[in-house]
């Protein structure tokens, strides 16, 4: 089911086009990766979703209806450029932000106490924000983002500034929110976390979508037909015996083993490659090399930029 639909959204600033007829949709209950190089237009799109700015043309549909002002209370937004009032006490501030999202004071206090307890930060309540470390402030910020139990969450670089332990805690919380039914946009440059938690992605470059779809499908479609074979004893003339369907991309000697990086042509299968190696060497390990999201990202953006340079 489509939860949010972005239809032909265009936004132009005085001297550049930030979004050029962008269209995609986000299914309910997924973690959706919004990817793209710096300056691609991600933040502009996020601001449009949050109704901070309006698109020049195009529509945003929220559960099928054009997004309205009151929908803002159903959205939780953690901006990349985040901050809190430095001189204000943590509890007071969290309460204020929760109330601005439409919670009553009593309800906000109740929920804040729950989260402060859960994150083991209850003793910060009376402290001023400026006394907290950056990571601590991020935790408070995270709580204020989700305190009104929004159905739609937008996290812009949520892991930056966290140590690995807290980054992991955040990741678990995001997956927990997904489990509870929230739809989540994750905008990040950290491709490892995209692979770990995103279901679908969209890759924006230079105001346009250059890749869009289910993460697993994208990865499968981007398969390079490359395999890594690790062998022990080896026939000395293995290279000469190699059929033309297989290509050696690289060899590497490690701890007495030899590591081959192989590419197979379209009409060959991995089984055939393995059989070939079994006949000529003692195979130690065999695995397919899947492109990482990082590689897909770089590959797509570079090839886009190259093709547009020629224009």
């Amino acid at each position: 089911m489509k939860f949010v639909e972005i239809q032909n959204v265009t936004k132009r600033f005085s001297n550049h086009l930030a979004l050029n007829k962008i269209s995609f949709s986000i299914n309910k209950g997924v973690v959706f990766g919004l990817l793209g190089p710096n300056g691609a237009g991600k933040t502009t799109l996020i601001r449009i979703l949050n109704q901070i700015t309006a698109p020049d043309s195009g529509n945003i549909l929220f559960e099928g209806h054009p997004i309205k002002r009151t929908d803002i209370e159903r959205i939780g937004y953690l901006p990349e450029e985040r901050g809190l009032y430095k001189k204000m006490k943590v509890g007071e501030q969290a309460l204020y932000l929760a109330q601005l999202k439409g919670l009553s004071k009593e309800e906000a206090i109740k929920r804040l106490h729950y989260w402060f307890k859960k994150f083991e930060i209850s003793y910060w309540w009376e402290r001023k924000v400026e006394e907290l470390s950056k990571g601590m402030q991020q935790k408070v910020q995270f709580i204020t983002t989700i305190i009104h139990q929004p159905e739609f969450l937008i996290f812009d670089e949520p892991f930056s500034g966290f140590d690995p332990i807290n980054a992991n805690l955040m990741k678990e919380e995001i997956l927990e929110l997904k489990k509870k039914g929230a739809t989540i946009i994750l905008s990040t440059h950290n491709m490892a976390s995209v692979e770990e938690i995103c279901d679908d992605i969209v890759l924006i470059n230079n105001a346009e979508i250059i890749l869009d779809g289910n993460l697993a499908e994208i990865k499968t479609a981007s398969k390079l037909n490359q395999f890594q074979v690790e062998v022990g004893d080896i026939d000395s003339d293995i290279v000469n015996l190699l059929p033309t369907e297989y290509e050696i991309l690289g060899t590497e000697k490690m701890n007495g083993y030899t590591l081959f990086t192989m590419k197979i042509s379209q009409n060959a299968t991995p089984n055939q490659l393995l059989q070939f190696f079994i006949g000529h060497a003692s195979v130690h390990s065999f695995k397919e090399i899947l492109p990482s999201m990082n590689e897909i990202f770089i590959d797509k953006v570079n090839s886009y930029n190259k093709s547009h340079q020629h224009e």
Binding site: I72, I75, Y77, L84
Partner: protein, 446 residues
Amino acid sequence: MNKTLLIIAREYLTRVKKKSFIVMTILGPILMAALIIVPVYISNKNLKEVKILVVDENEFFINNFTDTKKVVFSYRSGDIEKFKKDCLVSGQYDAILHILEGTQSLKSNLYFFEEPPMNLRSNIESQMDKLLFDKVLKDSFNIDPAKFEIIKNTTRSSIAMIQTDETGAEKKNFTELNRIIGMICGFAIYIFIFMFASQVLRSVLEEKTSRIVEVLISSVKPVQLMMGKIVGVALVGLTQFALWVVLTLVIVLGVQITNPGFFNKEQIAMEMPISPDGTSEFMPTADEIESYQDNQGIMEMINAFYDISFTQIILSFLFYFLFGYLVYAALFAAVGSAVDNEADSGQFTMPVTIPLILTMVLIMPMAEDPNGALAWWMSMIPLTSPVAMLIRLPSGVPAWELMLSMGILLLFFYFCVWFAAKIYRTGILMYGKKPSYKELWKWIRY
């Protein structure tokens, strides 16, 4: 709860709870009360008797000086050098008046060890002048000084300044006082506008530099945030103002109750001229008459003070403070949103504040001629009218002019909020380089 109200409440409460607010609120009235109390206290203190030894080479003034509450004269003759040595340091006398030999135009020296009260010299001089004058009247013209005094007092002319209103009815007027009140009000409004409008600028900058603004405007509209801030700070200003007035009154009244007679008007009036004791059995001296007239002047001033329409001034003060502040606060909010740090804000606040500073520079000429062209125009132009109109008000301003000026300010306020909101909503999300005026113009247009 309405979100704008939440913002107002936060802006208000965080400021009111600040130490600096509490300190300013307490210190302000103490300073104000001190301004009222200290001069009175000092002049009361000076009531201490000054003992003067008169050594007159002509023997004319012996026993002729009139003692007052403040000054007591004694007379001796002998070696002035010896008196100087013996009587001054010991404190037997506070000063020695040595009148040198002469006839009509006398030379005298006043010797002292500790500096005598400021007005002592003029006190003695006027007494001597009077005595000499009477002597010459009698000796050279054979005129009885008492008769002369009567003639002098019955042939006096005085001009009363009477302003009329639209119906031709009299308005009591006291120009000097009007000017002073006008200047005080104008100055107060200037300080208030600057103090609180620049708080708005700082507050906008704080939200921008701490980057909390993006979180906020994902919950509320930028214009709500801006107006919440402006109104919140305005309420802080009004609270501080009200507390100042109340606390100042409490202190002044407190002093009066614990020290009845501290602010005795008669006494204050007596302090100003140097008057001999009014109960003297002698005929009134010129000094006494002068002092009487000065008393009259002061009474008149006090009456005029009560005649000034304070309700009108206070209401107008509140109106002009509020809307003057709102105009400047909106403009300052726009400036705060457009820049990244306070240092850069100067370039954009300057064109906005120049009119206000200009008004301050022209405060004297405007007070001198409150109905002149300069004051008239400045009280109509919205950026200058809050100060200029307050300067004019105590001297009386026709109702239509006041309404016109208020109306213009009100319209200009709407314009400023519209204008500021346009810049604000774009500016708060812009980081990096300082925008040019050309860019600001673009922000307004989209």
